[in-house]
Symmetry: C2
Subunit: 244 residues, 2 copies
């Protein structure tokens, strides 16, 4: 495995369960468990060509590198993360098939071939603009608020990049489910799998995981809920298998 | 309480928890637990004027008569059920404020005032036409398959009958969630509450309960799942409170 340079406030974290390493900056947006859940949820076959939109640290491409032998792309608009994710790719010796592209998902045709990916993943900003962002140029604000892309941008780009019968998987907030499903249908992405993520039994979900098929047949499969903690406040067995 | 005539194959069932009686015919479609769950799920205030579309035996109006002091209407197309539900109303001494109307929900303006109800409930047929109906004139086929009304008919009628800021509540199958939410948005019914019903922990849901507000603000509240059975195969406490 290559040695890579670390910059100020950066550290290397081990993704033990997956035998991977990732560089993160303690002062910037770091990957969340939401991204880990999305990487676990999405259907990926061994020969699927995968793209992650707004890849940030590159966590989703790194995790999916264990599930496909094909090329994986990550598109990221912020140069700081492009640089960091590229060094994480080298750290894991994956530069022959994991490519971090600097670019804006609102103009996907400038950076990537359209209708060519078998799987597109995206963990977009959850909050509409004007819902309390403090410093709109910070990496945390850009990851959380729709500053550089709206939900419509994200779904449109996914639909343009994925091939017919390919899959688009997204993690988002339950409050926006109606809008998400509506946008997907608008762009010919037929929602096929939906899973709610709850902190624990008896609570409302905090997250939704959705997978759509481009030009798929209508019929939604709603999966059993994923619970993060059991009644004793310990991680559930399923969460331990995903991550720990 | 009035004495009412029973016809062939009819019997009186007690809804013990609600102190109500209902006439059912052992040879025809009988009310399901789905309808009971919908009556429990829907938000009804004490002064709400309520309408149930495709009321069948009248189970939902009867159950909701405990929650509002206002008038309740049930619209039903099949004369056999209109007659049966009217006798159930008399059996419970509710004829002063519970009205069963014979009519077709595809033409609601012929039978009912538009934009006048605070709450509209509907437990529509779940299955599209051509999905295995055997005897299309039987009451069971009409209740289960979209023979006399489609999902679009049901959502359109609900939207026409409910007042602005009024609520429409529906029970349906998870596989059709995308279509249901899309139709609701099409007719200006904003989905506000969603609850999944699962037989037990770890299983996929069998039913979805949805409540929309006409011309409401977008933002969906997904509730904790409702489980019917616990790990020992007994009814959960919540189900016992609803029904037993």
């Amino acid at each position: 495995v290559a040695e890579v340079e670390l910059r100020e406030h950066e550290r290397i974290d081990n993704l033990i369960h997956n035998n991977l390493k990732i560089i993160q900056n303690t002062k910037e947006f770091r990957f969340s468990f939401d991204a880990v859940l999305l990487a676990h949820f999405v259907t990926v076959h061994k020969r699927d060509k995968v793209l992650d939109l707004g890849t940030g640290t590159g966590i989703i491409p790194l995790l999916l590198s264990n599930r496909t032998m094909q090329e994986i792309y990550g598109l990221e608009i912020q140069p700081l993360f492009v640089d960091m994710a590229r060094r994480s790719v080298r750290l894991n010796g994956l530069e022959h098939r994991l490519h971090i592209i600097e670019g804006d998902l609102r103009r996907p045709e400038r950076y990537l071939p359209l209708n060519q990916f078998d799987v597109v993943t995206v963990n977009p900003p959850y909050m509409p603009l004007g819902s309390g962002e403090t410093n709109p140029s910070s990496s945390k604000a850009i990851a959380r608020h729709e500053i550089l892309c709206t939900l419509d941008d994200v779904v449109r780009a996914s639909a343009q990049l994925v091939n017919s019968q390919g899959r688009v998987a997204m993690v988002h907030r339950p409050s926006r489910l109606v809008e998400i499903l509506g946008k997907m249908v608008k762009y010919q992405l037929e929602p096929k799998r939906l899973r709610m993520v709850h902190a624990k039994l008896g609570e409302k979900p905090n997250l939704i995981l959705i997978e759509a098929i481009k030009q798929g047949q209508p019929s939604l499969d709603i999966l059993p809920p994923l619970y993060i903690y059991d009644a004793n406040g310990e991680y559930t067995d399923e969460v331990k298998q995903i991550y720990f």
